[in-house]
């Protein structure tokens, strides 16, 4: 079981490396934001696996925190790339 979990941790780390490649190379800003969102997802997964491996439940608070931060980052970046402002004053546009 422990070996299986370490193998899974290595595989997830390799996929995070692939997301970092897209984050550095990505030709446009939305590509980079999508890669950041995927990196947040990978970090959440790693925290779940590491809390099994270290046999503690105190890391699990971080899952909700990272999910909220990643979602707010994606929404703020998408608003900014769409209109150039994050909080709109004009509701009709």
């Amino acid at each position: 079981m422990i070996t299986f979990l370490w193998v899974i941790v290595v595989l997830i780390s390799l996929s995070i490396l692939a997301f970092v490649y897209r984050l550095v190379k990505g030709p446009s800003t939305p590509d980079r934001v999508i890669a950041l969102d995927a990196i947040g997802v990978g970090l959440i997964t790693l925290i779940g696996l590491i809390s099994i491996l270290f046999d503690t439940v105190f890391f699990l608070e971080v899952i909700l925190l990272l999910a909220v931060l990643s979602f707010i980052g994606t929404v703020a970046f998408s608003k900014f790339t769409e209109k150039g402002e994050i909080i709109q004053r004009d509701r009709n546009s």
Binding site: M1, F4, L5, I8, L11, I12, L14, S15, A18, F19, Y21, R22, P27, S28, T29, P30, D31, V33, I34, A35, D37, A38, V41, G42, I44, T45, G48, L49, S51, I52, D55, V57, L60, E61, I63, L64, A67, V68, S70, F71, T74, V75, F77, S78, K79, T81, E82
Partner: protein, 120 residues
């Protein structure tokens, strides 16, 4: 009982890992920003939900600790993953990111053109 729990945990975690690896392959190989957003939002969300379900089953069935925060995290990711992907795709289209060369049809272009003509 422990054997059944272990089989369940290993099955859910392997399923999620396969989906996250598919996300990594998609982010590297797909041609334009929209198909990459499609890969990242759907399959990464399903993968992380499945892996967190495995973590929840481990803490519940083996350690005897019912952790409701993981369930809350699964529900939150299920709601916000596709919403974030959709907003990012819309922002990418409206800010003028090029489609790939293999795109067959683009229905949104006519709608946006009509709307811009009406506004002017």
């Amino acid at each position: 009982m422990t054997v059944i729990a272990n089989i369940l945990i290993i099955a859910t975690i392997s399923f999620g890992t396969i989906f996250i690896l598919v996300t990594a392959i998609g982010l590297i190989r797909l041609p334009d920003a929209f198909s990459r957003a499609h890969a990242a939002s759907k399959s990464a969300t399903l993968g992380v939900m499945s892996i967190l379900l495995g973590v929840f089953l481990h803490f519940w069935l083996i350690e005897g600790h019912f952790n409701s925060r993981i369930l809350l995290g699964i529900a939150f990711l299920f709601i916000t993953g596709p919403v974030g992907g959709h907003m990012m795709g819309r922002a990418a289209y409206l800010s003028g990111v090029k489609l790939s060369d293999q795109t067959v049809r683009d229905d949104l272009a006519d709608v946006i053109k009509k709307k811009r003509e009406k506004l002017q």
